[in-house]
Amino acid sequence: MEVLRLQNLQKSFGSVRALKSASFTLNEGEVVALLGDNGAGKSTLIKAISGVFPVDRGDIYVRGQKVSIRSTRDAMDLGIETIHQDTSLAPDLSIARNLFLGREPVNLKWLGVFAPLDLAQLRDAASALLKRVGISKKLDADALVSTLSGGERQSIAISRAMQFAAKVIILDEPTNNLGVEETHGVLRFVKEVRDAGHSVLLITHNIHHVFQVADRIIVMRRGEIVAEQTVADTDLLTVESIITGADMSALLKETRAK
């Protein structure tokens, strides 16, 4: 069943046409890998879906219904959780506070923004979650994020997406800066959410990871989607050649012939 459908999304920054035209469909319970070289427009595409900025043109459908995503809050309310490549955590806040940022558990809800945080629940849920994720050992939920390593921070951001059990989870280069164990943790997590019926949009430069977890591959080049293939129907070399735009297999044949 279709969960998310993009139709002809376009986005320019001044004269830079970061997104010329992007259309694709994400189905329930599938992992789609979004590939492309630096500057291909991957982050721009997912920022549009997650409400960081509005698109210039194009439509977004969630479960067949046309939606307008005007803010990050809109996207979250539609069940789209995103872990951005560049901005994810507030370093001066504790792990627990970061995990619940924007969705704080509170007492006396009627007080609105002045409602007191349920600190006990915040801390407990956070430490339970850290244990559950298993990609980061022995992190104190009260520790400030500024005291963590880059990889540990990434783990926290991923835990956060897990906790709110979104329909669609978007990961922008989640394994960047991660050690071997943490990377496996992330890939395991991707498979787990897929098996639970969720959809994952995974952006990565590591093609090996793609072949480990993805069902389908979408390749972008200069703001356009240039290829769409199921993983079973393709191989590493082909995908690499599509990404760079050079026909690698032809190149290979040529060198072999010499």
């Binding site: 309310d77 069940g79 001066d92 924007g102 104190d140 897990m162 059990a165 639970a196």
Partner: protein
């Protein structure tokens, strides 16, 4: 085993998670407590407190009158006026912005109120309401320009300082106004006084205490405080989590302006005069109080307790150096040197904490 049900759509939390979490914390409770104590000792507000105690001790030893009821009453009369502004400034700095127009607003608000009453024949209550609206408007303009147009708060509020101070001077033609000196509800509310034994306190102290408690609550325990710290720490991250960063900042600018106006009114009622140059230089004194207390000028880390300690420190320095006989024209040299020493100390402690 812990089980998070990822099937629940739209961000529902699984009650089992909380239940299991509660069951597992008992064992972990001890460790953080010991840790919390050591982090308290290393925290900036703690080192500020130590400095305050040292300062008080030095002044008390140097001059016996320092801790006399009269002198303490004196200090407590001045303290709330800058302290109230410092509370708003702390929240604003924590969100990563600051406001240089507070001293000017401190001067303008009472001047406008008194002009309305004396020249316009307006009822004092209505005039105070008009003053309040004026402060809201000034804060809103600051906030809107900073967030929507994206100019740094330094430049916006520096310009606002000139506009507001200029307005105060122009509408009074530079002359101080006699303030409202007829006793009544509003004067008692803002500048009434009461005695406890030989100590004489102003009601403004209650305002300061009440507002301090509110500010502590908001920054440390309320959802809003979480947002304020997150915005100052990493604005994009906060926005990506659906935090309305611009709205929060605009309201904080409004709050700071309103508190500056309130402090101005309190001061004008206390001395029964409204001067167009009142509050000159207060913006820097207030920012000094806040950063001396341990709030980061770069945003993200704010402490109201620290600010209260910072306000006490600056107040007792100003008071103490007079008593121990530092020549009047040399005050600022001492104040500046002490502030600098405190900031250096904070920076060193911060470095130490980061290393360990």
């Amino acid at each position: 085993m812990m089980e998070i049900d990822v099937r629940r759509a739209g961000g529902g939390r699984h009650p089992g998670v909380w239940f299991d979490a509660v069951m597992t914390i008992a064992a972990e409770e001890e460790m953080p407590r010991a840790k919390r104590r050591s982090s308290l000792i290393r925290s900036p507000q703690f080192s500020s407190l130590v400095i305050l105690i040292v300062l008080l001790a030095v002044f008390a030893i140097a001059d016996a009158n320092f801790l006399s009821p009269l002198n303490i009453s004196n200090m407590m009369a001045f303290l709330p006026e800058l302290g109230i502004i410092a509370l708003g400034m702390t929240l604003l700095l924590t969100a990563g912005e600051f406001d240089l127009s507070v001293g000017a607003v401190f001067g303008l608000a009472p001047v406008v109120v008194m002009l309305l009453v004396q020249n316009g024949g307006v009822d004092i209550g209505v005039a105070l309401l008009a003053g309040l609206l004026l402060c809201i408007a000034i804060g809103a303009i600051n906030g809107l320009i900073v967030t929507k147009i994206g100019i740094s708060s330094f430049l916006v509020t520096l310009s606002m300082l000139l506009v507001v101070r200029g307005a105060a001077l122009y509408i009074t033609q530079g002359f101080p106004l006699k303030s409202w000196d007829q006793p009544g509800f509003f004067v008692t509310l803002l500048a009434g006084s009461f005695s406890i034994g030989t100590f004489r306190f102003y009601t403004s102290l209650w305002w300061f205490i009440g507002l301090s408690l509110l500010a502590i609550y908001v920054l440390r325990y309320a959802k809003l405080g979480n947002w304020i710290s997150a915005i100052g720490s990493n604005r994009n991250a906060a926005v990506a989590r659906g935090v309305p960063a611009d709205a929060v900042k605009i309201w904080l600018f409004i709050l700071t302006s309103v508190l500056a106006g309130l402090a101005g009114m309190i001061s004008a009622f206390r001395i029964s005069a409204a001067s167009p140059v009142a509050g000159t230089g207060y913006e820097l004194e207030v920012i000094a109080m806040v950063v001396v207390g341990g709030t980061a000028l770069t945003g993200g880390r704010g402490t109201i307790l620290g600010t209260i300690v910072g306000a006490l420190i600056l107040r007792s320095i100003r008071n103490g150096i007079v008593l121990i006989g530092v020549p009047g024209l040399a005050y600022n040299i001492f104040v500046g040197v002490i502030i600098l020493a405190m900031l250096i100390l904070h920076a060193l402690l911060q470095k130490n904490a980061a290393r360990s």
